[in-house]
Structures are given as C-alpha cells and as structure tokens.
C-alpha cells in the first residue's frame, strides 16, 4: 500500500486538456473496422433464426450457392468441425450450468436472431441477396419467455440436457433478519421491474478476419474492447496457438461493455477465413445488432425495508429474478448482474440486517450479459426507490433520511452487510455538496409554490457506490481468461519523444489522453510529447483491456510507475554526461535542468541521440535502460469502490404522463482526477444513457419470443433536445492502493441516474397518490399509475 505519490501526481494530471487523438474524428479520418480496406476482401452475412425455439429439420443452400457473386454458403455443422464449443461458467460463482454454444446453431435454435447459415460473397449486397435464397426448415417449439414461470415444472426446459431452466442462484441469508424486521416500526415493500435493454453503440459490431495459410496466422481487425481476451478466446476455440492470432483494434465507435463478449457470428467469420483462405468482413446491421448484441437488465426485484422510530434502517431484504436467454455468455458468464444486484443494493447505507436472494434463469430470448453499470444501476434504483418509499411512509424528507442512514465518512474501513470491504468513501460529504450544488431547499420551496399552480415537479436523490477496477477475484480466480492486470511500457526515442504502449484500449473514453497525462507528469514532459499505442496484441503488453472502469485506475498506475522509473534512468544517464548526480537534476517541459536553479542543461533529444547513437559517451559498464515496463493490478479487495450522489429535477404532466427532465446534478468521488473535462463528460454520457434506460428504452418481446422493436424507430434513444444540462462536481479521496490514487468513473453516471429519475418522478406523483416502479417509466405507465388508462403490464 502506497500513499498517492506527490512527486509524480502533478501537472498535467488534473488539467482539462483536450484529447490530441480526437482531431482525426473531426476530419472524417477516424478508421473504424468497416473503413478498413483489405485487398481481396469478401463479405459475410448470416441467415438468422426467425423463431425463438425450434428444431432445424432441413437446410437447402443450393439456390443460394448458385446466386451471383456467391463464394460459399456454410451451415453450422460444417463450421462446427473447425472449432470447440464454449461453456460460460465461472467456478467462483458455484453451481452455474450452461449448454455448449457453437458459432452457428446446429440442430436447434434457442433465440430469434441466432445465426444459422453463413453466406459469403464478393459484395455485401450479393451476400444479402443470396441469404434470402437459403431455405431452412424449422419445427417450432414452445418458446420460454416468462422468467416468472421459467422454473415451473410445467415449463419446457430450454436446453433439456441441463435438466431445468436454472442457470445459477445465490443467497445471502444470515440469521437475525426476520427478528430485525419484527423490531421495526415501519416496514415498506415494493416490486421493481427493470426492463430489458441494450446499450446500442452507434457503430455496430464488426470484424475483418484475415487468415494467412502460409504462415498459419489469423489477423482479426476487430471492434473490440479487449484485444488480448479475444486473442485467447479465438485461439483456444479455433485450436490455434495463441501467438498465431493477432487482434488489432481500429477506432471503435462506442462499446459500453457490448464489445467484450464472444459472438458466434464473429467466431464464424474467422473460421470462414480459415476455410476459404480469404480475408472476410462481417459488419452487423442495426436489426442484427438488436437481436444478437447482448442485452442487459431485465430484472424483477422485490424489496422490503424496515425502519425504527428514529427513521434509521433496521433491515433490508431483496429477492432478485432475472433471465439471461438460452446461454450464459462467454467468457464472463451471465451471473454478474445478479451478483451485483444482490451485493450493491442498499450498499451506501449502514444496514444492521441484510438478506438477498438471486435467481438467474434461462429463456428463449436473446442472451443477456454485462453492459455498462452491470447490475449496479438496478441496485441503485431498487435501494434508492425503497428508501424514498420508506422515508415517505415515515414522513421524513429524503435528504434528511439519507443524512441519518449513510455510512459515516469517518467509519472507514467498513465492510458492508453483503461483505464488501470499502476502503474510504465520502458519502456524507458528497450528499452535502450535492444539496448545496442543486440548492435543495430552494427547489423544495419552488416545488411547493408550483404545486399551488397545478405544476407537478419532483426532486429525486440517489446515493450510489460503484465497484471499479476489479481485482482477479471476480473473473480470473473463477477460471475465466480475463486479466485483471495491465502493463505499460514507456520508452525514450532518439528524438526525445516518448512512446507508451499499454494493454487497455480506446472507445472514446479518453484512455489514450489519460495515459499520456499520467506518463507526462511522472517524467516531466508535455503530454503531447507522448505517443500512446494501444490495441494490437502483436505490439502492446498483455492486459485486460477496457471495461469495468479500469483503464485509468489500473493502466494509469502502470504508466505512472513506468514513467517514474524511466525518469530516474534518464536523470542517471544525463548525470553521467553532465557530471552531476541524478538527484540534482530534474526534467521540466522536456528539458533536463538543474533542480536547484532550473537552469537548462540538456534536452531529451540531446540525451536520446547520445543514448542511441553515441553510447560510448557513457561509462563502459552502462547499458542504458530507456524502455521501462511496469505492471499493476488491484489486489487487496475485489474492486476499488467509489461513491457519488445524484440529484434530478423533473416535471410530470399528469394529463399526458410526459416527464421532462429539467436538470441533473452529480457529485462523484473517483479519487485522483486526471482530466476533469474528460471525466465530467464520461459522467454526463452515462447519465444520459441512464435517463434513456429510465424513460424510453425497453426491448419488448411477444409471447412467442419475437422482438417487437428492433430499430431506432421503435427503441427510443435519448436525443439532444430532450436531455438537460448536467452539472458535475467532485470530491477527491485517492485510493491508497496505488501511487496515482485514481479509481474508476466510467459507469457512475449510468448507475446513479435511474434511481434519481425514479425518485424524482415519484416525488412529483406523490401528491396525486401515485407511484411507478416498472422501468422504463413511460407516459402510458405514469397515466396507468394515475388511474387514467388501464395498465397493460
């Protein structure tokens, strides 16, 4: 354990610098996977199952094979000869079971959109034309679509070889919980439904697979967040040595956790490249994205909260049920969302008694897995929603209620009732800062005045804890090939510039810029003197990639450590040439100076030239080490926990049910802030995604397992015109786990927003005697809660 290192945590750390790498996007010169031109490339499209559940009784590809431009039409059983299927269970969440999954369906389809037949043609248009000619005969089966009845004995088993429809269950069931409820003076209950969503990055999934049979090397230019993990997955299941697979990330057009999973169509594209010995491109279209990108949420959570006479929480009990489709998703497994619902619900508060049960079941809908926020947005909605209900029942203002019940800022280290070891949080400080930032008391006065005029405004608060930058405890120790460490190499070039290579990747968050700022601070150069290279498994050090808010906290610390050591090496080498001790020198703005006087002694370029071209100027036993590699992972706890508090101000029109979000405020504590501009916009982007999740977005399936809204016309994403301005402020409580002191922040916005919006809506509806608890909170549901239209839920 080290305290933040003040010598290396200095400017440009903390400065709101623009990202030098962003200019290419402004000139239309970003290079996404679909922009990659490869000589001789052919195109793959997939024939997908129109049924949620069916046996495949025949496939006729003759007409498709004869169509113009067609190179091959390949079925699942032919593809299966080239790979080993995968099963996504992790051993540290014991009891999971999932059927083997192949790249393409074999004799049975288990969700609408499952890929069945691949069509390869010289152009995408020809492949799409030919795909229309593929005849697949299906014998439909009863689709299992209702998670509430999935475990009933009368319900068909999605994968009969498993025996039942249970993927996994977990229980936190200590003694004393029922006694704690019995002692309570107020007990409230609510059932929350969090609808099925996806996060829809604007760039769809895509891959260019190029197999070189001469060298037996497979190169995947791949819109992925996790190049090293994907190299492992593709090599293992295509039976290739890992060093024969190279994954290169071009610019990636948004990901949000969607581009870390194993998708059969992408694996099949690589196999087809090996079979046909041609480079092949697969780019999902938007409908394919909706039916085959992983979905998230889709939870039903029953919550019960007890209070004593002083308005202090006595006990919390939750029961979570979620459905993940027919397969657990490889290689992470699909149980983490339920795990985080069961461990994070109510986690900002001191809970004297806590009980949680989670059940994860199989259905015949598209697969579900971890996306941005992973269960924590649900935990926040449920925990904050039931708390506001309890506060209302007890006649306590929601701000005051939180003041009474938050874990005190002087209570750390603190282990929650669900077993999470919090290092150091600032929840009380964050709540007070939020109350001042949003002028909570002023808003309450305005609310009361406007209600006199028939205007229904609501004020919602949400406190949240975020698990960021995971240790190996969550995946690696459960047997998943997911690295929790990241490594950074920093080297001095002859020009005096620096090159930095890291294992994390970039999807727009600004990881490149953050790594450059951290490295620049550690060495003493401008961030623009550093070129950061990412996303190429042949070039960059092995690492876990970018997910779970880990890039800044983990790769940033590796970069800091490498920069500190390279700086010491540079000063020692310069000292030899300058006949000075290294400690008397410093690097400022890229120049080696006398530390005491600031007098310039030598540029890094002069030193770089000497090191590379005139090594004889150094002592004979000196072999300059000017490429330094350091590694970092979180070790002492499962996550670097962060905290925040969010406020939301809405107006609800009781005639139409429309909700207008007037303003959102967020106070967040992710430790050391490296770039406040990038950080604030990460949080704002997450908040807007959270507002979309809360008000508009729901994937609707019918009783036959057919998705009803697979387009941006029917699945509504937030537009600029209906989003508010968002104020973001920070508290900095650095982690002592690293010298940088930074924790993660990428998911804070999407975690807190749904709970804050929910509470604001219910605050507005409270004088009308109505409340909502089924997300998204659409106008129809609000009107139903007001008794103005019948409920269809």
């Amino acid at each position: 354990m080290t305290p933040p290192d003040s010598a290396s945590v200095r400017a440009p750390i903390g400065e709101p610098l623009p990202r030098p790498q962003s200019r290419r996007f402004l000139f239309g010169r970003g290079r996404y996977v679909d922009d990659v031109a490869v000589a001789g490339v052919a195109h793959v499209v997939y024939v997908r199952s129109p049924f949620a559940a069916a046996d495949i009784t025949g496939i006729d590809v003759a007409a498709a094979k004869a169509a113009p431009g067609v190179i091959a039409v390949v079925t699942g059983s032919e593809i299966a000869e080239w790979h080993d299927p995968w099963v996504a269970t992790i051993t540290n969440l014991p009891g999971q079971k999932s059927p083997p999954q192949h790249a393409l369906a074999l004799d049975r389809v288990r969700f609408q959109g499952e890929p069945v037949v691949a069509v390869v043609a010289e152009s995408r248009a020809e492949a799409e034309d030919a795909a229309e000619l593929v005849e697949v005969d299906y014998a439909p089966l009863e689709a299992v679509v209702d998670m509430e009845t999935a475990l009933d004995p009368a319900t068909r088993v999605v994968s009969p070889e498993l025996g039942d429809n249970l993927f996994w269950r977990m229980d936190i069931d200590p003694p004393g919980v029922s006694e704690a409820f019995a002692r309570s003076t107020t007990v409230v209950e609510e059932t929350f439904h969090i609808g099925r969503q996806t996060l829809a990055p604007l760039e769809p999934r895509g891959i260019v697979a190029d197999y070189d049979p001469a060298e037996q090397r497979l190169t995947l230019t791949f819109a992925t967040q996790v190049p090293h993990i994907m190299r492992y997955v593709f090599a293992k299941h295509l039976r290739l040595d890992e060093h024969r697979v190279r994954v290169v990330c071009p610019d990636v057009g948004g990901a949000f956790g969607l581009k870390i999973h194993t998708y059969g169509d992408e694996v099949a594209t690589a196999i087809l490249s090996m079979m046909l010995k041609r480079p092949l491109k697969f780019i999902a279209d938007r409908l394919e994205s909706f039916v085959s990108d992983v979905h998230c949420r889709d939870h039903r959570v029953k919550a019960r909260l007890g209070l004593d006479a002083e308005g202090r929480i006595t006990a919390l009990e939750i029961d979570d049920l979620t459905a993940i489709g027919p397969f657990s998703v490889y290689p992470r497994s699909s149980g983490i969302e339920a795990l985080l619902v069961c461990t994070f619900t109510g986690s900002p508060y001191h809970l004297p008694a806590f009980k949680a049960a989670g059940k994860v079941v199989f259905t015949n809908k598209n697969v579900m897995c971890q996306l941005r926020g992973v269960g924590m947005p649900i935990a926040c909605s449920v925990g904050e929603g039931i708390i506001d209900k309890a506060a209302r029942a007890a006649g306590i203002d929601p701000l005051d209620f939180r003041r009474r019940n938050l874990i005190p800022d002087d209570a750390y280290p603190y282990t929650t009732a669900s077993g999470m070891p919090f290092e150091s949080l600032s929840q009380q400080a964050a709540l007070e800062k939020l109350a001042a930032l949003m002028d909570y008391d002023g808003l309450r006065r305005e609310q009361a005045e406007l209600r006199e005029q028939g205007v229904y405004r609501g004020i919602g608060l949400a406190c949240f804890v975020e698990g960021t930058a995971p240790s190996p405890a969550i995946y690696g120790e459960g047997g998943a090939p997911i690295s929790a460490q990241d490594t950074c190499t920093v080297r001095l070039e002859p020009s005096g510039a620096l090159t930095c290579l890291v294992g994390v990747s970039e999807q727009g968050q600004g990881a490149e810029a953050v790594i450059a700022q951290v490295t620049a601070a550690a060495i003493g150069v401008a961030h623009t003197d550093i070129r950061v290279l990412m996303g190429d498994t042949d070039a960059t050090p092995y690492g876990g990639g970018t997910w779970a808010s880990r890039a800044t906290a983990i790769a940033g610390e590796a970069a800091r450590k490498a920069g500190v050591r390279l700086r010491a090496n540079i000063l020692g080498l310069a000292g030899q040439l300058l006949q000075a001790r290294g400690e008397t020198l410093d690097i400022r703005a890229g120049t080696i100076v006398d530390a005491a006087t600031g007098e310039a002694r030598m540029t890094l370029r002069e030193l770089g030239h000497a090191i590379h071209f005139r090594t004889t100027e150094f002592a004979p036993d000196t072999h300059p080490e000017i490429a330094v590699t350091e590694q970092f992972s979180v070790r002492s706890r499962m996550f670097l926990y962060t905290n925040g508090a969010m406020g939301c101000h809405v107006e609800v029109d009781p005639e139409t049910g429309f909700v207008t979000v007037l303003k959102v405020w967020c106070v967040e504590d992710c430790g050391t802030v490296v770039n406040p501009m990038l950080l604030d916009d990460q949080i704002r982007g997450g908040i807007v995604q959270g507002i979309g999740n809360t008000l508009y977005e729901e994937l609707v399936y019918d009783g036959e397992g057919q998705l009803q809204n697979g387009s941006f016309i029917d699945y509504l994403l937030p537009m600029a015109g209906e989003m508010p301005d968002i104020e973001v402020a920070h508290i900095e409580t650095p982690t002592a786990e690293s010298g940088l002191g930074a924790k993660g922040a990428g998911e804070a916005g999407i975690i807190g927003a749904p709970g804050a919006v929910l509470n604001a809506i219910n605050d507005a509806l409270a004088p009308l005697g109505a409340s909502v608890s089924r997300q998204p909170y659409t106008p129809e549901r609000i009107l139903a809660a007001l008794g103005k239209v019948p409920s269809r839920d």
């Binding site: 623009p18 990202r19 962003s22 200019r23 996007f25 402004l26 000139f27 239309g28 010169r29 970003g30 290079r31 996404y32 679909d34 922009d35 031109a37 113009p68 248009a125 996060l199 829809a200 990055p201 604007l202 760039e203 769809p204 610019d251 990636v252 057009g253 948004g254 990901a255 949000f256 938007r286 999807q507 727009g508 968050q509 600004g510 207008t660 007037l662 303003k663 501009m677 990038l678 916009d681 704002r684 982007g685 997450g686 908040i687 807007v688 995604q689 387009s711 941006f712 016309i713 994403l717 937030p718 537009m719 600029a720 015109g721 209906e722 989003m723 508010p724 301005d725 968002i726 916005g749």
Partner: protein
C-alpha cells in the same frame, strides 16, 4: 440483376462519373466506391444521422438517398468541408470542448452544426439541442456538443437564451 444507371456528380468539388446499381445508396457509393469513409452508417434506416451529407447545400440522410436520385447534384462530405477549411471553427470548438468521444457520430454532427451556423443568427441552447436532435450520440450526453456549437454560432458570446440556460 439490378439495373445499372449512369450518374454524374460533383463530390467535394471533383467531377465523378459512374455507372451504378439502381439500389445503391449515396452513403455506400461514397464509402465503397470513392473511399470516403468519413460518412458512417449507424442504423441504415434514417434515424441516427451518422450518414449525414450535404447535397446541393442541404443536409440529407445518406442511407435513405439513392445515388441515382442525385444525378447532376453537388455532394459535400466531412472530408470536403474539413479539407476546404469551411468548418475549421466548428472543428476547433469541438476539439477544445471534447465534443466527441468515440467519434462515430462526429462527421454527421459537424455537418448538422454547420447547417445551423449557416442561418447566421444567435440561437438558444434549446434551439441547438433541437437542431441536432436528428443526430444521435451515444457517448457524450450531448452537453459538450451543445457547448461547442454555442461558442461558434453565438460568436459574440451571447446566445439567445432569456434565462441563460435551459427552459
């Protein structure tokens, strides 16, 4: 086989003659035939705005417009307006304010912003928000984009908001 149609276009100031399938959209023509990959396809059904290009001075959805419809037309893409210097002020404002993350929506967003600037009068933040509502951004939450456009369109530092903010 799809019918082939000869077309003559001006793309970023350059004369282009081609014989193209009748069903070819302009965004596919720009990307696949001319190598102008700055224009993106996010949904292919006219909602997301990533395919925004300018035709005869007006912005359109490249994914919903057939190339054959544009015979004789003048087409400008992000590459054209960037290289000509026309949108340099917007580019600088987007850069300084970090008004993009993944960058996929950015070319379309810039062309849409340029069409607002072309109106040549101060606008409110809500007008900016409404004007860019046909261009989805999944990363930024829009505020940085609104800020950047605000500084360019309202060059005297005064926008048309009466209350200095939203609503």
């Amino acid at each position: 086989m799809p019918e082939s149609i000869p077309v003559s276009l001006t793309v970023n100031g350059r004369r282009v003659e081609a014989t193209i399938p009748a069903r070819l959209t302009i965004v596919d023509f720009l990307r696949d035939h001319l190598g102008l990959t700055g224009t993106h396809v996010g949904c292919a059904h006219g909602v997301c705005g990533a395919c925004t290009v300018r035709v005869d001075g007006a912005i359109i959805r490249g994914c919903l417009t057939l190339t054959a419809q544009l015979d004789g037309g003048t087409i400008e893409t992000i590459e054209g307006v960037a290289d000509s210097g026309e949108i340099a002020d917007l580019q600088e404002a987007f850069y300084a304010r970090n008004a993009m993350q993944c960058g996929f929506c950015t070319p379309g967003m810039l062309l849409t912003a340029a069409s607002l600037k072309a109106r040549g009068r101060p606008v409110s933040r809500q007008e900016i928000r409404d004007h860019i509502s046909g261009n989805l951004c999944r990363c930024t939450g829009y505020q940085a984009i609104v800020d950047a456009i605000d500084t360019v369109v309202n060059t005297d530092g005064v926008n048309a908001d009466s209350d200095g903010g939203r609503r």
